[in-house]
Symmetry: C2
Subunit: 303 residues, 2 copies
Amino acid sequence: MPEPRPDEALIKVRMAGICNTDIEISRGYMNFRGVLGHEFVGIVEHSPDPPQIGTRVVGEINAGCGECSFCRAGMERHCPCRTVLGILGRDGALAEYVSLPVKNLVAVPDFLPDEKATFTEPLAAALEILEQVKIEPADRVLVIGDGKLGLLICMALQLTGCDLRLLGKHPEKTQFFKRLGGAVLSFDDLEEQHQRYDVVVEASGHPSGWNLAVKLVRPRGTLVLKSTYHGSLDFNPAPLVIDEITVQGSRCGRFEPALRLMDLGLIDPTPLITEILPFSRVEEAFDKTRSRDALKILVRMPS
Amino acid sequence: MPEPRPDEALIKVRMAGICNTDIEISRGYMNFRGVLGHEFVGIVEHSPDPPQIGTRVVGEINAGCGECSFCRAGMERHCPCRTVLGILGRDGALAEYVSLPVKNLVAVPDFLPDEKATFTEPLAAALEILEQVKIEPADRVLVIGDGKLGLLICMALQLTGCDLRLLGKHPEKTQFFKRLGGAVLSFDDLEEQHQRYDVVVEASGHPSGWNLAVKLVRPRGTLVLKSTYHGSLDFNPAPLVIDEITVQGSRCGRFEPALRLMDLGLIDPTPLITEILPFSRVEEAFDKTRSRDALKILVRMPS
């Protein structure tokens, strides 16, 4: 049972998601030891802010110190002393209970089901791209990677009206984007056409995605970097200089727009759910997340 | 003797500079074979535009096709079919004569001496940073690399009023920036202070500069990448994602602002000249450029 600090609430978790970052952490990324899980929805059970008790909430995963120059500038997500739920110095949400600072919690709209609310954190990470990069309706945009994050990014970027392509290896995954009316490229298509893109989003989760992305972005274009993994790659910076590419690292985003877009029905992540398993089968949930053909595995907590 | 195409002028070179890129090319960078040299000032001897004849000029080094989407968008420097003077598919200016398209030539102000005009190209490359990145007067900025380009970048960025530091290994080179009132950091200073910078410019010309730059830029800061070299490096993209760094590749810039700033006396590159040698000693000029303590070596052509 977590022991909330004076500024923290105790939340009874209803549902939690497993993310590729959890798999990378299990391989050594971030050197984290503790309870995994940073995607969840739950009910506030105790809080120093009494009206919050009983509210169904999701939680911003970065907890800043509140006092440094980053926190004071509204950049708690970059506080050098931050803890990050289930990733850095703070036990995560794949548990019956989790604690987070009161100010990290955001109420979930009444009619948004738990299955959707659990996607708030990864969808916010997808929307972060739009906070960082101006994507214009006429831009040609390529998303590399047909995993959970790549597909959420496609859903988010589709709202800009841009000319969007998803490059993926797994027809059983890219079909989700096809069903949304999206355009999908295979690696064979890539060989045939010699298109370069205004914006390329690297969300493959694999070191090979980087050099591919550099090759596919046009001179003076933007490469958005979303993949994090354990390990490094061989990199020649000359093409970035010669083509004057902008590389934009991109991590976590704000929760409110993610909740808004799901509540409006403009983004529906539920087709990405491969299976919902009870907490008693959480190890199986991890194994399934690791398998090639699974997308999102959710874990339902005992009520 | 070059054979100018119908749209090209023939220029009698008066003075040319040697750049680190020339040294890298001699090591295999760009796989270029031909006459080196892309920094020069000369007199137009023949031109399809007769009033140009007799004018003292400098020359934009990228020659675009004039017809592709990049050229039509004013991005000739990124034309996929371009030639680049002394770097790609076009003989350079370390010769008595050089040819370039008429539209690449820019007249040198009357009272700007050849020694300064020869710096137009590298100074334009330094100023390119200000075309790409908004550097505010209150920003903390670090330039890594006390070579010719690093020092020109310092001179250019000093004009923004920003809080600027030069990180260099060679006291005999950093002293030039100190004499301009600039602040210099040694690697020992770096260990002591734990400052991270809003903008870091990597102009070390060496693979080790990259990881150092990533470490020294603040979360959500900008890393400007100027170094090009033959070879690659070991790179872990996670810090770029976690800290949401923007990496901006930066190459060539416009000539007019460089000429303007030198003509106004706001930038004076002449202290960077280590020696001016006659063309008969051009091999010695290359050897001297390769030596650790030299800055700019210029070559004077026979008149």
